[in-house]
């Protein structure tokens, strides 16, 4: 499977994948307990070059090539974490987590609660809709984020990849770390240097006056394009990137509601049961009086993803769909 990048890149800055390398490298240097396990990591550096060169720098005891045994991979990370290490289990595509669901949901997520002891474990994978068809494009964000005991980071740019993975590697908790496959090669500036970025803090990516679109990961770029178009009509839309889905920055959501009363929440998961529902429903309970009308959700269609590119593009939020949603809230 290959991936596509249709977002502009600037060559001088690190790519999204390289930012992951940077963050992991920095943490590995100071923390000898970190090691990485996954398929094709040593020579190839992972399918998205996300750990390229790290085995060469830190040795093969800290970057291990795994057989195709997802259950054992996560179990290895889990048991090692319980022993005191801080493993990164690289599942390549998040779809492959299906083979390790008990290890993730029933074991890793629950162990601290059950036994009162830490589980410092990062599970990294690519996510999101791209080419390749139905088996490689599952949206599992809602499932993981709604599992008590798991946290979930889903960065949209190199800077956030770096800062969030550094945080993930400093907390003694299981973290799901999802990197959108279509963003792998996108370059952008590291603005926060060697600093970790806290979970649960949204990022306002574009200022607005009239309404807000709340989103994350690849859909952010669709939202920004929509905002550009809307600006031409005189509608100024703030675009907010949640960056982590648990913890979730409810304060940022509430602030957007209070400021504009007109909010769109967008994500590429099939709309029915997407996290956009949770965000909208709970924010509505909290801030109904500040809303000029109901929050409008934009999501994917209820269908598996076709391998045909026109179809896979049409299955997720489009610029046109996003503009329509903003028009809807502007009518309130």
């Amino acid at each position: 499977m290959s991936t596509t990048t249709d977002t502009p890149t600037r060559v001088s800055h690190p790519s999204y994948s390289e930012a992951f390398q940077q963050g992991v490298r920095e943490e590995m240097t100071t923390n000898p307990d970190i090691f990485i396990l996954g398929t094709d990591l040593v020579e190839r550096g992972g399918h998205f070059a996300q750990v390229k060169g790290i085995a060469q720098e830190f040795g093969e005891s800290r970057v291990k090539d795994s057989p195709i045994s997802e259950a054992a991979m996560v179990a290895a990370g889990l048991g090692a974490a319980m022993y005191g290490l801080h493993p990164i289990i690289d599942l390549n595509f998040i779809d492959f987590s299906f083979g390790a669901m008990d290890e993730i949901i029933n074991q890793a997520a629950k162990i601290r609660f059950m036994f009162g002891q830490p589980v410092p474990l990062v599970i990294r994978a690519t996510s999101g809709v791209a080419l390749g068809g139905a088996h490689h494009t599952n949206a599992l964000e809602a499932f993981f984020a709604s599992t008590p005991g798991l946290s979930l980071a889903i960065p949209s740019c190199a800077n956030d990849v770096k800062g969030l993975i550094k945080t993930a590697l400093r907390v003694p908790d299981p973290v799901i770390f999802l990197m959108h496959k279509k963003l792998s090669g996108v370059r952008s500036e590291i603005t926060t240097g060697h600093q970790p970025i806290p979970f649960g803090k949204a990022n306002s990516v574009r200022p607005g006056k009239d309404a807000a679109i709340i989103t994350w990961s690849y859909t952010l770029f669709t939202a920004l394009k929509a905002a550009d178009e809307l600006a031409k009509e005189g509608i100024e839309v703030e675009v907010i990137d949640l960056r982590t889905l648990w913890p979730l920055d409810e304060d940022a959501v509430d602030a957007a509601i209070k400021k504009y009363g007109r909010v769109v929440i967008a994500d590429e998961a099939p709309k029915f049961g997407s996290l956009t529902a949770e965000i909208a429903a709970s924010a509505t309970e909290r801030c109904n009086s500040d809303l000029k009308g109901p929050i409008v959700r934009v999501g994917g269609v209820r269908a598996p993803i076709s391998a045909n590119p026109r179809h896979s593009d049409a299955a997720i939020p489009t610029v046109a769909g996003m503009i329509e949603a903003v028009h809807k809230v502007m009518k309130y």
């Binding site: 290959s2 020579e43 057989p67 590119p309 026109r310 299955a315």
Partner: protein, 324 residues
């Protein structure tokens, strides 16, 4: 594809090779969304197995499945069109390279997930068993799938219910860039399988007649109610895991050695010429007709329409439960 004579085995291997090399180039030119997994070098596994099966036998396979699908009797046209994600493709353009299939013709699908086809094929064998039918089901998996737990769960299930099931390991020795010996405890697939209580064989997957023979014997046992067989067919993939990939994980010498000395097509061609089962003239005309067939498939794929956007969410379920 009907394998009525020895020449038809060779012809099918040539079709696969030409299909793959052609599709590979087209992929590099951007014609195949998502890329493809080239099976060049592994033709004898696909053709050897399929030539021992009956038309109503079932297969389920992997992400690398063009060769199995062609050998099962699907046309280059419908497969090439599927690679192009065209409406005329065997999966109506929804599947591309990894998701070829048509249950009505006994093909229960390629698969994006390592090991998943084993379970599906085992389930088909359970279906056959329930119905009392006299056909068999074959699951394909790569060497990488030897370390996936469900492969063994499924094999065990086939053993205890004595299902008419054959598990074929299309063992090209690498999972992406990982050598099988490095990640496979014991590194003896047949020994590993035999611990689950079924006849298990490591065979030469580049010898089409050996593959055919072991499959035929396994099929006989299965139809006779004697249960499943495990066949690990040793072979080699010439190209990168996905189109355009190279990597440093194996030497050029190793590749050259397999290509030059162990190629399944060259070996079988030499054999047929030496026994007189085929003349040089037969071979020449065979190659020409294969070439024309694949060229036609490309033309068919190119000229086929894309699936209509209005079908985007068609057929997610039967609709009989009333979902809107």
């Amino acid at each position: 594809m009907a394998y009525t004579d020895l020449q038809s085995l060779l012809r099918e291997m040539l079709v696969i090779r030409e299909f793959e090399e052609t599709a590979d180039k087209l992929t590099l030119r951007g014609k195949v969304p998502g890329g493809m997994h080239n099976s060049s070098g592994q033709e004898a596994v696909a053709v050897g197995v399929m030539s021992a099966l009956a038309a109503d036998d079932v297969i389920a396979t992997t992400h690398r499945s063009h060769h199995h699908t062609l050998a099962k009797g699907f046309t280059p046209n419908e497969i090439m069109a599927e690679l192009f994600t065209k409406a005329t493709g065997v999966s109506k353009g929804r599947g591309a390279s990894m998701h070829l299939g048509d249950f009505k013709r006994g093909h229960f699908g390629g698969n994006g997930i390592v090991g998943a086809g084993v379970g599906i094929a085992m389930g088909a064998a359970m279906g056959i068993h329930q119905r009392g039918d006299k056909n068999v089901s074959v699951g394909f998996v790569g060497d990488g799938g030897l370390n996936t737990g469900r492969t063994w769960e499924s094999l065990n299930m086939a053993v205890i219910y004595k299902l008419p099931f054959i598990l074929v390991v299309d063992n090209n020795q690498y999972a992406v860039e990982t050598f099988v010996g490095r990640v496979t405890g014991g590194n003896d697939p047949a020994k590993r399988a035999s611990g689950f209580g079924l006849p298990s064989f490591n065979i030469d997957g580049n010898d089409v007649l050996e593959v055919q023979k072991y499959t035929a014997e396994a099929r006989e046992r299965a139809v006779a109610g004697e249960g499943p067989t495990f066949i690990n067919a040793l072979t080699y993939r010439y190209n990168g895991h996905n189109v355009g990939e190279r990597g440093q994980y194996r030497t050029q010498e190793e590749i050259a050695d397999w290509r030059e000395h162990k190629d399944p097509i060259d070996r079988f061609t030499a054999y047929l010429l030496s026994t007189g089962d085929m003349s040089q003239a037969d071979l020449d005309s065979m190659k020409a007709s294969v070439h024309a067939e694949i060229e036609a498939a490309v033309a068919f794929a190119e000229s086929s329409p894309e699936p209509d956007l209005s079908t985007l969410t068609d057929g997610v379920d039967s609709g009989l439960l009333g979902a809107k």
